[in-house]
């Protein structure tokens, strides 16, 4: 780049930045209260649209002037819908409110915005240090996180590019355009950034390979085909801060020499598709994308491609086939996409989180990034922690933090005083780890060593009531459904695994099943064509390794230790606890399996019972008399009184 060119870039960008600043100060200096509502898919699913409507109606009703600012997701899913109210006149700092439904919205409008009372019983915390209200930063869920990728998520309006620019957005692109592409690649290499899609391949190395693959034009693809059950990091990032991803893509495209980039996002993420499409349009209008980016000689066109929901299309070669218009089936690698990718051109495929890390790295420098995380895996990891955990949601932590810290300190541990049993990391390709691994640091290498994997960041926490055989069956059912059917091991091998596991959970296990599961799994791992098949047996292998006794109980005793597999359990009422005359369970039983004993307590007709568990829900907690037992023949016999003749 020549200095004259650099000046032009600065000139164009400064004009854009000035406008962004003007808009922000106009917003900030406006003395009216501001209501920030989290409106990503998770918020909307919890009722954020109704909350927004309720605020609007209440503001009109009480004739209060205030601005509603729709933002993305903060990652605190357990607290949705999340609202931050900034009411400067009240003397209080901006306040974080959780679970703000329509009623709460109306109440807060009247009592806080109109009368100045923040209603302490509903306050979660203050967004800044102050003397009146404890700050959210006093909670581990906030202060133990390290936000790099999600730094701006939940604070800016994803549908307004100026919000992002005012926060310093796109200034790294400006910086990058003035650098030589090789300098950028070197910086990314020095940062030690590893691909966040699962495999952890060094990103800088990938870019270097693409750059070195010849003079022809390259293609950059952002892989947002997130399909792991319970994982939604990519969706949240695209819905909360799409421009950070787009900026990363633009820097990558400039570095490797691409004029075309594609965001491959699942069609099941309609909001993400809309927001990203809008973001690309806004960036193009401001000259940050398109022909001659910021007046430089670099052109970049970004398209959005909607995937049709096949899990296997997250595999890069299948993803390429799918964009080319064919059935999404993986092919053998090598050649790798950087050698021969989309339309036979060299193609760089990076995950959403990888690309979103690029701009902070270039902004603060590789050394800054290396200081976060561990030596082999610098930076942060984003997990969607779900399952039996108190503070579920998205957590961004430095690599190397232990599972115990993540699950117990940051996410609040297991609800209802239950015991921790296992954590499934890395989605259906990952493994189930038991409590022996709670002190394992989270990074690519130690998780792989333990038999799990980083995957894209799904983390399912399970308590003592979870049957590990059933969990394996669930994941195998998923992978078998999502197998493309191309190669023998994955198509037929995982089907056999699934059928054996189905038998085990029905109490039909046989001698030799366990050994067959193990040998088949090992062969499938080696023999399969793509990553889906190669990792599909991981849940089976790890759960056998760490919970072998459960498998043995299922096979040899027909017993489900977690009392979860219905064919292997029976329900009964503990007669010492059952309350005489109470009919709660009997009235809710859908099959009339509950009968009254001669002393007016309850029994279960095992012939009729379908083991739905409704009686457990119905039994008042002060009695808590419903019990499960496995195997079913251990159920105590309770005499059913002879049926009375009905009187005519």
């Amino acid at each position: 780049m020549n200095p004259a060119g650099n000046e032009k870039i600065d000139q164009i960008f400064n004009a854009v930045y000035k406008e962004a600043e003007r808009r922000r100060s106009e917003f900030r200096e406006d003395p009216v209260p501001k209501i920030h509502i989290g409106m990503a898919t998770c918020g909307i699913a919890s009722g954020a649209l109704e909350t927004q409507k309720a605020f609007q109606e209440a503001l009109d009703e009480y004739n209060i002037e205030a601005r509603i600012h729709t933002v993305g997701c903060l990652g605190h899913c357990y607290a949705e819908p999340v609202v931050i109210i900034d009411h400067p006149d009240s003397g209080f700092p901006p306040i974080f409110y959780h679970e703000v439904n329509a009623g709460k919205a109306k109440m807060l409008t009247k009592l806080f915005l109109k009368e100045g009372d923040p209603r302490f019983e509903h306050v979660y915390g203050a967004m800044e240090e102050n003397d009146l209200i404890p700050s959210v930063m006093e909670f581990a869920r906030f202060n133990r996180e390290k936000r790099v990728v999600m730094e701006k998520c939940g604070y800016i309006d994803p549908e307004d590019i100026y919000d992002y620019i005012a926060e310093g957005g796109y200034s790294t692109l400006v910086k990058a355009l003035k650098l030589n592409p090789y300098e950028i690649i070197k910086e990314v290499q020095n940062s030690g950034l590893r691909g966040r899609g699962g495999a952890g391949f060094p990103t800088g190395r990938k870019w270097e390979l693409a750059k070195g693959s010849g003079e022809q034009e390259k293609i950059v693809i952002c892989n947002a085909d997130e399909g792991d059950p319970g994982a939604y990091m990519d969706r949240t990032i695209l819905e909360s801060n799409p421009h950070q991803v787009i900026e990363g893509m633009a820097i990558c495209a400039y570095a490797v020499g691409a004029k075309k980039a594609i965001i491959y996002v699942r069609a099941e993420y309609p909001l993400a598709v809309n927001i990203v499409t809008k973001a690309i349009r806004q960036a193009t209008e401001l000259g940050l994308l398109g022909k001659s980016v910021l007046g430089s000689s670099f052109d970049l066109e970004i398209d959005v491609f909607r995937g049709s929901g096949a899990f296997v299309c997250g595999e890069e070669t299948a993803l390429i086939r799918s964009i080319e218009g064919y059935r999404g089936m993986p092919r053998h690698r090598p050649p790798y996409p950087v050698q021969k990718g989309l339309w036979n051109q060299s193609t760089v495929i990076n995950n959403v989180k990888t690309l979103a890390s690029v701009s902070p790295i270039l902004d603060h420098g590789a050394d800054w990034y290396r200081e976060i995380g561990t030596e082999n895996t610098p930076g942060t990891a984003i997990f969607s922690v779900v399952g039996n955990v108190v503070h579920a949601g998205l957590v961004e932590i430095p690599m190397g933090v232990s599972l115990r810290t993540l699950i117990f300190d940051i996410c609040g541990g297991i609800p209802d005083n239950k015991k921790f049993k296992a954590v499934q990391i890395g989605g259906p390709s990952g493994g189930c780890l038991n409590e022996d691994f709670l002190d394992t640091p989270i990074d690519f290498d130690s998780l792989t060593e333990a038999g799990a994997m980083m995957g894209s960041g799904g983390m399912v926490v399970m308590d003592e009531d979870t049957c590990m055989v059933e969990v394996s069956r669930y994941f195998l059912d998923f992978t078998q459904n999502e197998s493309c059917g191309k190669c023998t091991f994955c198509r037929i091998g995982t089907y056999h695994l699934l059928k054996i596991l189905e038998r085990l959970t029905k109490g039909e296990g046989q001698d030799g099943d366990l050994e067959l599961l193990e040998t088949l799994s090992k062969d499938i791992k080696v023999g399969s064509l793509c990553g889906l098949g190669k990792t599909a047996p991981n849940p089976v292998l790890t759960s056998i390794k760490y919970f072998r006794d459960e498998y043995e109980a299922h096979i040899y005793e027909k017993r489900c230790p977690a009392l979860m597999c219905r064919p292997m359990i029976a329900f009964y009422f503990d007669l010492d606890l059952c309350a005489r005359g109470c009919d709660a369970c009997a009235t809710c039983c859908p099959v009339e399996a509950v009968f009254t004993t001669s002393n007016r307590k309850k029994g279960v007709d095992q012939e009729l019972c379908v083991k739905c568990g409704e009686c457990i829900v119905a039994c008042p907690p002060e009695y808590d008399a419903v019990r499960k037992v496995s195997p079913p023949d251990r159920v105590p016999h309770i005499e059913k009184p002879p049926e009375k003749e009905k009187e005519e």
């Binding site: 096949a310 059935r327 089936m329 092919r331 053998h332 050649p335 078998q480 459904n481 999502e482 197998s483 493309c484 059917g485 191309k486 190669c487 023998t488 091991f489 198509r491 037929i492 091998g493 995982t494 089907y495 056999h496 059928k499 030799g512 067959l516 040998t519 088949l520 062969d523 080696v526 023999g527 399969s528 064509l529």
Partner: protein, 218 residues
């Protein structure tokens, strides 16, 4: 011309030759189903043609390797045989073994591989799982037997080669994956009647000619 060793036998082949082909041409049999010259990229889906190449940790499918000078290849190590036998047992576990009534009897690749790898046609240990549909009769001239098919995909390729576009395609997924005629709007534009390329290439007799067109019209 690269010179290399396969099972201690010295072989020469032209630069760029696929290892599997070089071996087959030199009378070294490696079990295979989906390999066909001209399919690019190779489908590598049957997972049968594994070999051990010195320097590689795991067995690799020989249809993905081009010959190199001084390569040392072994086609019958225990690890190779383990994978091949498992793959074959898997294929046979979903195969309707009824050789007497199958037109591919005696020229069937599954029979050949079973004999070569010493695997029984009805392997013990694995349960048999067959697909529900026994015969797909939707094509005017062809019948398709899902429980015979090994999904090698060669029929799709030869049809495309001959007709520019393939009348056959993979459909469904996972265990339910089949070859079907879905997606082709007008079969009359294909000269299926006089072609038979798919039938000829099928290694297992999963595609056969209908006895007469009248049968279809009935």
């Amino acid at each position: 011309m690269p010179k290399f060793l396969v099972d201690n036998k010295e072989i020469q082949a032209k630069q760029g030759t696929i290892l599997l082909k070089a071996c087959l041409d030199n009378e070294i049999y490696i079990p295979n189903l989906c390999y066909l010259e001209g399919i690019d990229p190779p489908s590598v889906s049957c997972r049968m043609c594994f070999v051990k190449i010195e320097g590689e940790r795991q067995p690799v499918p020989s249809c993905t390797v081009t010959v190199k000078d001084d390569m040392v290849v072994k086609t019958d190590t225990p690890a190779v045989r383990q994978l091949q036998r498992t793959a074959l047992r898997l294929l046979l576990s979903v195969h309707h073994v009824d050789c007497k009534n199958c037109q591919a009897n005696k020229k069937c690749e599954l029979q050949r591989m079973a004999k070569f790898l010493k695997v029984g046609l009805k392997p013990k240990g694995l349960e048999r799982h067959l697909r529900e549909i026994e015969i797909d009769r939707s094509h005017p001239f062809l019948d398709y037997y899902p429980n015979r098919c090994v999904l090698c995909g060669k029929c799709i390729h030869v049809c495309r080669e001959k007709n520019g576009q393939s009348a056959l395609t993979f459909s469904k997924r996972g265990f339910d994956t089949v070859i079907s005629f879905y997606g082709v709007k007008d079969l009359s534009t294909f000269e299926c009647e006089n072609c038979n390329a798919c039938i000829d290439i099928c290694p297992v007799g999963a595609l056969i000619l209908k006895e007469s067109k009248e049968e279809f019209l009935k």
